[in-house]
């Protein structure tokens, strides 16, 4: 098991190295460059030259790559090309808690809606509750998250004035402060995911409820509740876990648009601004971080299988 985890971690590092290489060259394939973005049309050719040299962009591409790559290996992600040339690591570390908070809360909301909804719709198949859940899932899947976000702002922030419309408050200012700012964006992101997961739990549960071992459980005289929670749900969750794991990573990257709607300066905003400004080191660092989350959540999912399904063992 430990050997397996070590092997997977080595694999993860290799994936990250590949991602680093790809992102370095891909961002440079995008038309436009930071110089144009910085100086617009006003800069004289001399000023351009000076800037290019100062930023090291006059070097051959492979040399630039080698400098950045060896830096990353030593934990140095470079500095933003803009303003006070803030280190990329600092920028990411300021943005990360916001995005992580948002992703975590969205995830909790998604699961809190999806698990009961999926169970109810499976156990009362074709009932009013099942139709209701299907309708909710249909709406949740078809509504773009930014649209739901705007809707939520209009209702709860603008009209009812219950919650702030924009911004972020760190946990250090109090849990309620933190929650107040995050609840609307978290609902906006979580709803769509809960719809997907609820549908998956429903179909998985329907299959499990027909299993022979459910009949055995019934023959023991167990209550309906125990049968569902102890026997059906753990089996039904095995296929769902895969999607949930990928969903968590998607939540991190999916926060990009919603963060913009709510003016939360998270990873999404950093990434978008970086791309717009062709701020190469920032984009490279942010993409690396997001891909690290994908790799990590995949690993966690694979390890969760062992916990939930005793038939699975890694060696």
């Amino acid at each position: 098991m430990i050997a397996y985890i070590i092997r997977r971690l080595i694999g993860a590092v290799l994936v990250m190295l590949a991602v680093a290489t790809l992102v370095f060259f891909m961002i440079r394939l995008v038309p436009g460059d930071p110089i144009a973005a910085m100086l617009a049309d006003s800069g004289s050719p001399e000023a351009r030259e000076a800037l290019i040299r100062r930023l090291g962009l006059d070097q051959p591409l492979l040399v630039q790559f080698w400098r950045w790559f060896t830096g990353v290996l030593q934990g140095d992600f470079g500095a933003s090309l803009y303003g006070s040339n803030q280190p990329v690591a600092d920028i990411l570390m300021t943005a990360l808690p916001k995005t992580l908070s948002l992703a975590l809360l969205s995830f909790i909301i998604a699961i809190a809606i999806a698990v009961p909804a999926g169970i109810v719709s499976a156990t009362r198949k074709n009932s009013a509750a099942d139709v209701g859940v299907s309708l909710f899932a249909f709406l949740g899947l078809s509504m773009p998250d930014f649209w739901l976000a705007i809707l939520l702002i209009i209702i709860f922030a603008a009209n009812l004035q219950w919650l702030p419309a924009i911004g972020y408050a760190p946990m250090s200012e109090g849990f309620w402060e933190w929650l107040q700012h995050l609840i609307l964006p978290a609902i906006a992101i979580g709803t769509g995911f809960s719809a997907i997961i609820a549908r998956m739990i429903r179909s998985s549960m329907l299959e499990v409820l027909q299993a022979d071992y459910m009949r055995t459980a019934a023959s023991k005289g167990l209550t309906h509740r125990v049968m569902l929670l102890r026997h059906a749900l753990p089996n039904a969750m095995i296929p769902v876990i895969t999607v949930v794991g990928i969903a968590f990573a998607l939540l991190i990257s999916g926060a990009v648009v919603v963060e913009n709607v709510f003016s939360i300066k998270g990873l999404g905003r950093v990434l978008i601004q970086g791309i717009q400004n062709r701020d190469y080191p920032v984009v490279q660092g942010a993409v690396l971080l997001v891909s690290a989350f994908f790799v990590l959540s995949n690993l966690i999912v694979d390890l969760l299988y062992v916990v939930i399904d005793p038939r699975i063992r890694y060696s």
């Binding site: 299993a211 022979d212 071992y213 009949r215 055995t216 459980a217 019934a218 023959s219 023991k220 005289g221 167990l222 209550t223 125990v226 102890r230 026997h231 753990p234 089996n235 095995i238 939930i308 399904d309 005793p310 038939r311």
Partner: protein, 323 residues
């Protein structure tokens, strides 16, 4: 008073508002401590009628009429909660498929112990002690260690032993064993049946043994009900039935399996045709299309079940006429 008394039970499957009878008015009794066999081909209604006793019929299946009295109380009028109390505690079940009848993600111990805790109200610790005793009783060696193992660590025969331990958990008065050995290796079958009959003897537990193999019945059951097309066609003491079958179907069943007490030169004779399709319209006696002794009346009129037999021409008689 018999332990279980089934009277004129009919069960139908309902599909698109069309009812098709699967069990067509069967009546029988099981006494305390008795082993009764229900024998028949697939589709004869033997499993459906026993799931009706447990109150575990699939949602498309409905009891149309009749009564199932357990210790004098009709199970069909009990509430869901009352039925839940009866399941596991008074009546338990061993199923056909040991490979899929245990929950794959929970260990054996918890699956035995939850029945003990639910039905006997013991504490976790007491339940564990009892689970270990049960596993030992059903012949699982190294019981304490095996409690922590999962179903996939067990062979088919061992899993069926675990299923028997679960069925025994609350020391029920009646165990329904639905083809408990059909999915097992032939070498294991006798072991499991020996075990089950010994347990019934020692605990005074009654058992309904459902099987399609009339051959295994004689050794374990005191009485046999032979079912065909949703009805009991012949009922009697196992020994009598085996020695002198009166219904052509019973005879057919006996002739289609090898017997050790007969001359080996007698060839096996399978019953012609296929089991009665519940969805097909068959007039008169449902066995008549496959019966070698069928007369015109068999096609037009269904025989009444009288004196343990439902046949217009009981065998000794028709055999004589044939000569």
């Amino acid at each position: 008073m018999p332990l279980l008394e089934i009277d004129n039970l009919s069960v139908s499957v309902v599909h698109d508002a069309i009812e098709t009878p699967l069990v067509r008015g069967i009546s029988y009794e099981v006494s305390t401590g008795e082993i009764l066999a229900l024998v028949g081909e697939s589709g004869s209604g033997k499993s459906v009628s026993s799931l009706a006793i447990m109150g575990l019929l699939a949602s498309a299946l409905r009891v149309k009429h009749g009564s199932i009295k357990f210790e004098g109380h009709d199970l069909l009028v009990q509430s869901d909660e009352q039925m839940r109390q009866i399941r596991g505690r008074d009546i338990s079940m061993v199923f056909q498929e040991p490979m899929t009848s245990l929950n794959p993600v929970r260990n054996i111990g918890s699956q035995i112990m939850e029945s003990i805790e639910e039905n006997l109200g013991l504490t976790r610790k007491q339940a564990k002690t009892r689970a270990i005793d049960l596993l030992k009783e059903v012949g699982v060696a190294d019981a304490e260690r095996r409690l922590k193992q999962y179903p996939h660590h067990f062979s088919g025969g061992m899993r069926q032993r675990v299923m028997i331990a679960i069925a025994l958990a609350a020391d029920p008065k009646l165990i329904i064993a639905d083809e408990p050995t059909t999915a097992l290796d032939v070498t294991i079958q006798a072991q499991i049946l020996d075990l089950m009959s010994r347990i019934c003897r020692e605990h005074g537990t009654a058992m309904i043994l459902i099987t399609h193999n009339l051959g295994i019945v004689a050794r374990y059951a005191q009485r046999v009900n032979v079912m065909y097309g949703g009805r009991i066609v012949e009922a009697g003491r196992a020994r009598d039935l085996y020695a002198a079958p009166r219904h052509p179907y019973t005879e057919g069943l006996l002739q289609s399996v090898p017997r050790l007490d007969q001359d080996r030169s007698i060839p096996l004779r399978p019953i012609q045709g296929s089991p009665a399709d519940p969805f097909a319209e068959i007039s008169g006696c449902r066995f008549h299309p496959r019966c070698p002794y069928a007369e015109p009346i068999c096609r037009s009129k269904a025989p009444e079940f009288e004196g343990g037999l439902a046949c217009h021409f009981p065998l000794s008689q028709s055999a004589k006429e044939a000569v």
